[in-house]
Symmetry: D2
């Protein structure tokens, strides 16, 4: 019962990396919204493997089909079912995983939880699971755009120890997409590519940080006390594979400031109340304040590496694992559309929730 997200704009994802396919059912999408498979495909293409030399050479076409909920190019208000068929499965590549637990993967924990596991791939723990979310996020963006929200823009702000230099509020989608790293700082991007190439060469992997800004979020979104906007964002991001940390606004670094240094002074900007600084990250007391929503998420280095590792098999025997298969040495570039999708899902749900009571 853990595959649902949202209260009103409610998404249900399904599918393993190996099997008939993966998909999502979106329940609660407002009616009469223009929606085509192409709107979804654009985001899936940013998520899919094989899009650059940085990512796994697996070629997954990931063609989205909208099976219900849309009629003559418009949403009906009924559940929207979107599916992507699985292809390019090479179960043989996973034969060695039938009995061996990959370190820092979910093989052991799925087995511990369910007493069974689809060993022909990562099952639900595969990055392939995120197809459903990214598809749903594409629909959520349509709802937000129709309601006048601004863009949601994520980018790679760090790979390993290579930090991007950029003004969070000025980053554009074009700058991000211009780099195969999805790091809008071309200099840092160059160095990231070198590091990723080196890690691949050594059979190793790298992690990093994705930053995200949501522009044009109106004041009033988020529901105290448990469904605070930052709480739902944190849940959404931590539910992504490999995510180990979340910050909003000043985050961990902000705790090194004093109150007077940290507080955001209010001022009047014509009709609007605004803040001079935005250490709050666009959220105060769990509710958006009209400033850009700013957040960061930490993604650990990819668990699948070729280097030899100590582990155990299902019989509890010590074994050495040298993983085969085609994997990303760094998930960060592909994590960018996933982060945007989760932010879009949270904002869309809270937008509709606010409409209910406003």
């Amino acid at each position: 019962m853990g595959s649902s997200f949202g209260q009103i704009f409610r998404v249900h994802t399904w599918g393993e990396s190996h099997g008939g396919g993966v998909g999502v059912v979106i329940d609660g999408c407002p009616p009469r919204l223009e929606l085509s498979a192409e709107h979804v495909q654009v985001e899936l293409d940013r998520r899919r493997p094989g899009q650059s030399r940085l990512t796994t050479p697996r070629q997954e076409e990931d063609r989205a089909e909208i099976l219900s909920g849309v009629f003559e190019g418009r949403t009906l208000g009924t559940p929207i079912s979107i599916m992507v068929h699985n292809r390019d499965a090479r179960p043989s590549a996973y034969e060695q995983m039938r009995d061996v637990y990959r370190p820092s993967h979910a093989d052991y924990t799925y087995e511990a939880k369910y007493g069974i596991r689809n060993w022909q791939g990562g099952g639900r723990a595969s990055a392939r699971e995120t197809i459903g979310r990214v598809a749903a996020g594409a629909v959520a963006r349509r709802v937000l755009a129709a309601a006048g929200f601004g863009e949601i823009i994520a980018w790679v702000s760090r790979v390993h120890t290579v930090e991007a230099k950029c003004d969070a509020l000025a980053v554009t989608r074009e700058q991000v997409e211009a780099q195969i790293t999805r790091c809008p700082d071309p200099v840092a991007s160059e160095e990231m590519i070198r590091r990723i190439d080196a890690a691949r060469g050594e059979g190793d992997s790298l992690g990093g940080v994705v930053s995200c800004v949501a522009h044009g979020v109106p004041p009033g979104l988020g529901e105290p006390v448990f469904d605070k906007l930052e709480a739902d964002l944190a849940r959404g991001l931590l539910s992504l594979p490999a995510c180990k940390g979340f910050e909003i606004g000043s985050g961990f670094e902000g705790t090194r400031l004093t109150g007077i240094e940290h507080n955001d002074p209010f001022f009047s900007d014509g009709e609007r109340v605004r803040t001079r600084t935005n250490r709050s990250g666009g959220v105060q007391g769990g509710i958006s304040n009209g400033e850009p929503v700013l957040l960061r998420a930490a993604f650990k280095p990819t668990a699948t590496i070729r280097k030899a590792q100590e582990t155990v098999n299902r019989a509890g025997e010590s074994v050495t694992l040298e993983a085969q298969g085609r994997h990303d040495p760094c998930v960060l570039p592909r994590a960018v559309p996933m982060v945007e999708a989760m932010v879009a899902l949270v904002l869309c749900d809270h937008h509709l929730r606010q409409r209910a009571i406003a």
Copy 2:
């Protein structure tokens, strides 16, 4: 509709800082568990203001009453209603807040969302709201203890720039409670006290980090993909007042490692599969792996300070605010039982969820 938490062990909190009281209804607590008001009171006493010179001198007695769901000292399986009456209200102290938005507080956002706000205190954004959570957390601990879980121990690991030195796995409740800072490192604790005293003297405030470890969590808790254990923990912690960041296991720092440095090798420890390191923080693929669950949460410096600040009033006019009232210059010591309560609520809920399908 944002005041509920959990799927099976489901808590609903209510109450403003000013009004009849605050409380919680717990629905889904297993029957026949020994429970008395004293079990709840112990945790409320750790949370309440006025317990040391570090915290606000407001004296809130916060006496818990169990109104339903318990009969002859045992839970009935029916909703447990726990209430604390409000006392010591000094609405006059808040008179200046009737029209002025305190910077980095929730005054403006509540007004933006609801078009109305209880200005006689922080309303639902007050730390007083956490009484319901801490009370529910005390009940959740009873469930976990009866099910053989180990202790949940949180502590202050940083205030401002003062970092505690301690072995996360060895920290005891006694060490934590021995210091009024709730920092188990006595040397760091001394320095923290100095900094907090200085901040109070200047009418300023400090933030910091709370760390937490949950011992004895069995493998198998957490439900992919959206209700991953770390996702629910992140939501729980980010829903606490003033929390701006969350990390599990290696968190943000772990992203500076490579895959081979970061992965946790498995080994067999008798019947159990264990990991040699615990950068995963006890969770892999969203499911507990039997190792201690390790997390950290960032709390910003208290927004309420005496120093003069620029802000606006409801009419949109620029005003200077010099706050009065009695407030904590540093919420960290009182955040410790709140963090433990949220971790207990998440673990208890997932424990029951796992029983449903196991």
Copy 3:
């Protein structure tokens, strides 16, 4: 986890017949609505025992306190906690129930489910539990009234075999309240009183049917496919103590008609599309069509009777039970406000749900 109702206008009830009290937390009520304890008290007074010679002579004052969520006479948008303290408890009257299962009561099933039971009264199975619903229903009516809905009027349309003659669409609250039976047909009411008096004299009890009409429900409420308006109404009514059946529109009798006899022809009434007949009961395909919503609920004869009955005790021994205590020989008059409350809760929730997507 079964004590919650609604998706957006979400109510959580708590409390046993014996213990500190009973109450409800309402989460999701729109802000800025005028609300006072008096609005709630009016409905509680219609529900309480001892209001006429037809009901149990127990005097329960049932004084409602609003503990949160209201400020200066208006709702804040935050959870509204309403409580009624328990009084007039006579646990001694229940001493015989400590070990004996009352036939057609919930004593045995609570024991089977929870392994424990508050034998000092009916626990959660007591009619006293409905106080929380009726209080929440009073708030829901405020929301509906502010949104331009018409009145919700329920009445006793049958007691035992005595059927009321009245035009469902013309019944007024005044007519209903004018009779202690809450049957607006004075002739039938007289005969109902005779029957109820006779049943009381014999230590027996009677059941019957409550009818209800909701006027001024706009088209478009209800969410296919599982949250159809009639599905949520059915759930709401069947969740009332002693309710054994539900019908909407033509109900069971309508199944004796043919399609051409049963279908409701559409016609244009100015701007509005209306139906010439209303066998649909105001709902088509799970969505309101703008006609009055018409429903009926069956309530079995009160299970508590003084007549000797065969039963068993907790040891499994055969015993004869002759119940003591003060009970209603017929719950129908008091069921009227309960039915109205459940209908109000369903309509209010669907009204807010429709606002979210409209």
Copy 4:
């Protein structure tokens, strides 16, 4: 957001009668359960049109595909996605419905709610929507069978005014399936066939009643106060197309008895506490008592008839409708597997809920 059912065994249906297909995602199914497409197909075949001369001659093959959640013939504990592709669509047959509201159909209300509607068929209001439920119900039956529950058997107990004579507790699946009416009384079945044939000949339609018994339900299922077993059953059945009424146990007729006539005396049957009669229908206080669960549901005559009817079009003009297309003159035989599916879904969900807290 109305297309989900259940709290732990949670099903999400999707799909219109015209479009890519219809299906269901089941989240919360226990792992390691044997499951194949054949288990699902058996129930879909009982539901599909064209199975006898009584039902619509439309031939829908309704071939179930399991797309996820099953591996090597066993459930994984992850979401189970089941899909049936749409075929045999004849949009032209619906051309006349583009602008005309069919009486007692959902055309008008969908338009009123969503401002858009898929006029090429009944959309979500089509009986085709029930494919997802029936598929999920087949999975629920597997869970229940593995947990030792008895059979769930529904049958047609009345068509129009023709009442079946049979002993509810003795009806077998074989007797039901032996008659194309699914009425186990062969004499009544004959007469029902005559009536249905006559109605078809006249372009008219008939309704009736489906009865259902669930054998071998253990005591303790159902959660007071809103998720009482009968409340969830009522919701489930009223959510079926054309259902207008629900009764459990003695239902509406039981209200004509007095308390002493209606109460079910308890007795000891070896280790078990049982009741001599079962007017409670297997549920007391919202919780199963171990007796067979007995219920009945009313289905109105099919709204689609060939006879000329008065109605209006989208422009509000009066028109006469003479429907074309291929429709069931009586849905009762096909409603039988739908009723069983909903009962299975409710029992399965409450079975898992009880495991969580027991």
